[in-house]
Amino acid sequence: MKNLDLAITCFTTVCALGTGRVAMIKALQSNQSGLVAQTIPGCSDTTYLGKVSGLDDVEIPQHLTAFDCRNNRLAEVTLLADDFIGSVDQAKKQFGANRIAVVLGTSTSGASTGEEAYAQQDEHSQFPSSFDYAHTQELSSLSSYVRERLGLTGLSYTISTACSSSTKSFADAALLISTGLADAVVVGGVDTLCGSSIRGFYGLELLSPTPCCPNDVTSRGISIGEAGGFALLQRRNENTDIQLLGFGESTDAYHMSSPHPEGLGAEIAIQKALEMSGLNPNQIDYVNLHGTGSAANDQIEDKVITKILGTQVPVSSTKGWTGHTLGAAGIIDSAICFLALEHSLIFGNLNLSTKNPAFQSNIVKHTYDHPLQTVMTNNFGFGGNNCTLIFGQAS
């Protein structure tokens, strides 16, 4: 595939930085992290989480209450932010509800509802009658909810490839529009904190006891977070600002939870995205790193970036603001890239004080003004699943 000719016509996010794009850019510009200390359930250790506040009070519309769970509540709040629903309504008038698809990423969907149901089983192992697995915990619940909520009748499905889930939704949107199966696609994803993810990463000894500081010599692990984000992709027109220029997907073929030691999968994803975009490596103006704070993973990403893009291109991890939002990381990192393009800003690497001396790439410590034409973002997930996206200013 070449010349994607696809544009992002609107986007929105809700994460630990607040609701909507304005909250996000303000927090980014003022170096305000969304990470807060929390005791890990079942023990006395502390970690830092990027939590979204107020979800307990969110109301799901009456006709869709079967979908009520923390993850779909976050989807609901995100749909309301920045009038994303209004933008989709406009697209509906233009294309028709059956011509708009929904492809969203999540890693755990409404798992916290299943966890609660397990805790509430009676002596006969019966769940409370209100528990509705398919509409809450099942991964497809997210895309079904958003399709119903937006009144769309096109194709809808969930991609779940761990931390590259929502990143890959952009690739599927490109397939859907290029084949003519859809005129517009709602992409992005929603992932909310649950016992499984917190205790799972804790069990792998990956959770940092301090706010994460990716690429720092003192980095002690990751801080996880929750987030929702949506973007509407359609064919480019004269009013569009941001384009999807390329995507690259690959697998590591190495290990379920450790990256390939030479970063081979990451390298393939980046090279494929570059090839599709038609750009030379020196034409990338900024890279938003996967940069979770896991020292081993960050070092491999640094190695791959340096190998392909050299040591000059400014790069940073923004996980110090949002935490690693897992299945939503792709849409959150993409939204940060969109804001970078819109505001001509290269964001710093929050919480970085001393760069790991083994790292060669040009890791930006503090945010600065700089006009940008093209940006790249990487996400690498468990199961060795990788996806790279390249966005650019519409020319």
Partner: protein, 263 residues
Amino acid sequence: MTKLHAHIKGISIIGPGLNDWSETQRIFSGQETWQGAPTIIAPPEIVSPRERRRTSPAMRLALNTALAACEHANADPKNTVSVFSSAIGSGSVTERIFTALDTDLKQVSPTDFHNSVHNAAAGYWSIGTQSHTASTSISAGDFGFGVGLIHALMQVALQKHDVLLVCFEHPFSGPLHAARPLGDAMGIGLVLSTSGLGPHITASFDQGDQQLTRPNHLELADKCELNPPARSLALLEHLALKKTGTVYIPHSFDRMLKVEVMP
């Protein structure tokens, strides 16, 4: 209206009383009587013994289905893009994690945690085959076969790769089984290609109000009704009997994919 095309290079099936594609062909053609015995899932040869021990029954089902489809197609997994479609992924892993979280210490096993990702089967497939090609894992509830087929056909049309589609479902065995019944375990594999001598399919969105096409083997259809991959059975019956025809497969609760089959 968009029509997507592909040749079917390889087919595999593992299900209740269905141990492989050649046996299934004989059952569809009436040469053999279908017994409906519980699904047999062998240890997956494609991964090393160390990794084999870590795989869940759902992953084993997916891996065996994937390998059998590639072998039938004589396709090299290293040059084959993959899509794995399943509603629940590994139910046994989910139930073990939830059970652990329901204790005071809430200790989640690291292996269970990395196996809990929906793309775990795809990850083991990539490791076992040493393939670095793109791989997507989809959840589309009961519509996993229709949606997976669309995704695979888009990849064939645009990326010009051979594409392996694996649609699999292994039911829960613990208390979640009652909350999400899925029938007998079943896996369906197809290798799709832009070219080849195999049967040809053309797929498009249906504008009418068709229903899911059921196979003529109604006993089998009834037994597998709850299992999402079983929505491929009418298509597979056409392929087994080398029959020209049209089958309808839902891709959502209110929309159908129309698939025209040319043997």
